[in-house]
C-alpha cells in the first residue's frame, strides 16, 4: 500500500499583509481518507482551505492534487484541476437565481457533459442527498440543512476526487449538523471521496474525521489520528479546544489536591486511554503488581470513530510502600499518557 497520496502539501506559506497566515504547513492524505483541520478563529484554517482549492495563491511551498502540482498552474489551467475538487461552504453559496437542480447542474455544464447525462446525474445526486422531490425549488424555499444538501450534491456532481468542507455545519442547528455529518460520512464510505474539513468544533472532528491537524497561528500545532488527538492531546491549543470533550478533574477534587503526600493521602493519577489499552485489565493488573487499591474517583470513555478514548482519575490507596516512580512507568507503558496530579484523601 504505497499508492501516491491524493493530496500532498509541502511547506506552504501564505502572508496576508504583515500577517503570516500560514507558515510551513506540510501533510499528505491518502485516497478515501478524511482529514479534519481544527483551530481557533484566525488560526489560518480558511486561508489553508482556500489555498487547497486554488482560490488563493501560496507564497511558498507546493500543493499536489492527484499528482498535479496546483501551485504552479495558471488560472486557466487551474480550472481543469478544480473540476476534480468539490467544495462546500458555511453559508452554502448557492446561486439564488437557479433552482436546486440548476445549481447541481452547473459543475456538469462547466465540465461539458451532454444534456441527457447531465439531467440523469442531477436526479441521481439529488436522490443521494435525500432531496429527490425538491429539484425545482429555489434556495430561498429551502431550509438551511436542505441548502447544504444541495451544496453537497453540487460539490459531488462532477465526481471529484477531493471534497473540501469549509465550516460546512457551522451555520446549522445541532440536529441538522448531525444529519449533514452522517450524510458526509455515508458519502465517504459509499463513494470513497477523500475529504478535508475545516471547523472550529471538536464535535465535527469527532464524528467525521479520521486524521486531525490542529492549527495555531498559521502553524501545525499537532497532528495525528482522531483517537490520538482525543486520547492524548499534547499541545495547549488542543487541550483548550478539547475542553468539554475530555473528562476533567471535578473542582472539589482539584481543590483537595496537595502537591506532597500527607498522612492518609493517596497519589492521584490521570490516565489517558485510547483503543486497546482502554479495554484492558489495567486497574486489576495495577492492584496485583503493586499491592495497591485503585480507587476510581472520576473518568469517562467515549467512542471516537470506533475507538474507545477517555481518561480515568485513579487514586491508589494503601500505596504507602509502593514506589510511585515504578507505578508511573508501569502506567505509562499501558496508557496513552499518565500524569501524577498530586495527593488526595481517597474517599473509599
Amino acid at each position: 500500500m504505497s499508492a501516491p497520496p491524493l493530496l500532498d502539501v509541502r511547506g506552504i506559506a501564505r502572508r496576508l499583509g504583515s500577517h503570516q497566515a500560514l507558515d510551513d504547513i506540510s501533510f499528505s492524505l491518502a485516497s478515501g481518507d478524511i482529514l479534519g483541520i481544527i483551530g481557533r478563529s484566525g488560526a489560518g484554517k480558511s486561508t489553508l482551505i482556500r489555498c487547497l482549492s486554488g482560490l488563493e495563491r501560496v507564497d511558498g511551498g507546493s500543493i499536489t492534487v492527484e499528482g498535479t502540482e496546483i501551485t504552479a498552474l495558471s488560472e486557466t489551467a487551474l480550472q481543469t484541476v478544480r473540476q476534480r475538487i468539490g467544495m462546500i461552504f458555511q453559508h452554502f453559496n448557492l446561486l439564488s437565481a437557479k433552482t436546486a437542480a440548476e445549481n447541481v447542474m452547473l459543475p456538469l455544464l462547466i465540465a461539458g457533459w451532454p444534456k441527457r447525462r447531465r439531467e440523469e446525474r442531477v436526479a441521481e445526486l439529488l436522490d443521494l442527498v435525500g432531496l429527490g422531490g425538491q429539484a425545482k425549488r429555489y434556495p430561498h424555499q429551502l431550509s438551511g440543512g436542505q441548502k447544504q444538501r444541495v451544496g453537497i450534491a453540487r460539490a459531488l456532481a462532477a465526481s471529484p476526487a477531493l471534497l473540501l468542507c469549509d465550516e460546512a455545519t457551522s451555520a446549522l442547528d445541532p440536529e441538522t449538523t448531525t444529519s449533514i455529518l452522517a450524510l458526509l460520512d455515508d458519502i465517504n464510505r459509499r463513494l470513497g471521496v477523500t475529504m478535508v474539513l475545516i471547523t472550529h468544533e471538536m464535535s465535527v472532528i469527532r464524528s467525521l474525521a479520521r486524521k486531525v491537524i490542529v492549527l495555531d497561528h498559521g502553524r501545525i500545532a499537532e497532528q495525528g489520528s482522531v483517537a490520538e488527538i482525543f486520547g492524548a492531546p499534547r499541545s495547549d491549543v488542543t487541550h483548550s479546544l478539547l475542553r468539554g470533550f475530555r473528562p476533567e478533574l471535578p473542582d472539589h477534587l482539584a481543590a483537595a489536591l496537595r502537591p506532597e503526600p500527607f498522612p492518609g493521602s493517596a497519589p492521584l493519577f490521570r490516565i489517558d486511554l485510547a483503543g486497546e489499552n482502554a479495554r484492558g485489565t489495567l486497574l486489576f493488573d495495577l492492584a496485583q503488581s503493586f499491592r495497591v487499591r485503585p480507587v476510581l474517583l472520576h473518568g469517562g470513555l467515549q467512542d471516537v470513530r470506533g475507538v474507545a478514548v477517555g481518561s480515568l482519575f485513579v487514586a491508589l490507596a494503601d500505596a504507602g510502600a509502593a514506589p510511585v516512580d515504578a507505578i508511573l512507568s508501569f502506567l505509562l507503558g499501558r496508557s496513552q499518557a499518565t500524569e501524577l496530579l498530586g495527593h488526595v484523601v481517597p474517599s473509599a
Partner: protein
Amino acid sequence: MLSLLLDLLWQSLLQTLEMTFAAGAVSLLLGLPLAVLLVTTDRQGIRPIPPLNLVASWIVNAVRSVPFIILLIILIPVTRLIAGTSLGTEAAIIPLSIACIPYYARIAEVSLREVDRGLIDAVRAMGGSRWTIIRHVLVPEALPGLLSGFTVTLVTLIGASAMAGAIGAGGLGDLAIRYGYQRFETNVMIAVVIVLIALVCLIQWLGDRLAARLGHR
C-alpha cells in the same frame, strides 16, 4: 380645439416613447457590458486590469459630469455624422444614448458589486471560467437590481428627452415648453404633466413587478 390638443399630446407622447425606449435599449446593450467591465477589471475583480479599469472609469465620469443640455450641443457633430442630421426625434436618440450609457453603467455596477463574493468563489472552485462567472453568477444574481436600475434609467431618459426639444426632437417636454410656457397655454402644460406622471408611474410599476418576479430571494 380639444381634438387638436389630444392629437398634439399623442404625437408628443409617441416621440417621447421613441426616444426613451430607443436610447434605453442602447444604454442597456452597451451600459451593461461596460458595467461588467468596470466590475471585473477592478483590482478585486475576477480579471484585474487596473489601467483599463481606470480609463473606463474616467471616461464614464467625464461623460457623466457634463450637463445633458451641454452634451447635446457638444455632440451635434457626432450626431450629424451618425444620423445624417442633428435635428429631430431620431437624431436625439444618439446624444440621449451617449449620456445614458455611463449613467446606466454606474447603476448596474452597484448591483453587480453587491453579488456575494462567496458565490463567485463557489463557481471558481468548481472550475468555472470568467465567462461562466459573468453569465451564471454576476448577471443572473444581480438581475433584480439591474432591472430596477434600468427602470430608473428609463425614467431619467423621459426627463432628459424633454431637453432634447432644444434640438427640435419634439416630445412631451418640448410640447410643454412651446405651448405651455412660451404661449401661456396652461391647460397644455397641465395635460403634459399629467401624461408624464402617468407614464413614469406605469414604467416604475412595470419595472418593480418584473424585478420582483425575477428575484428569488
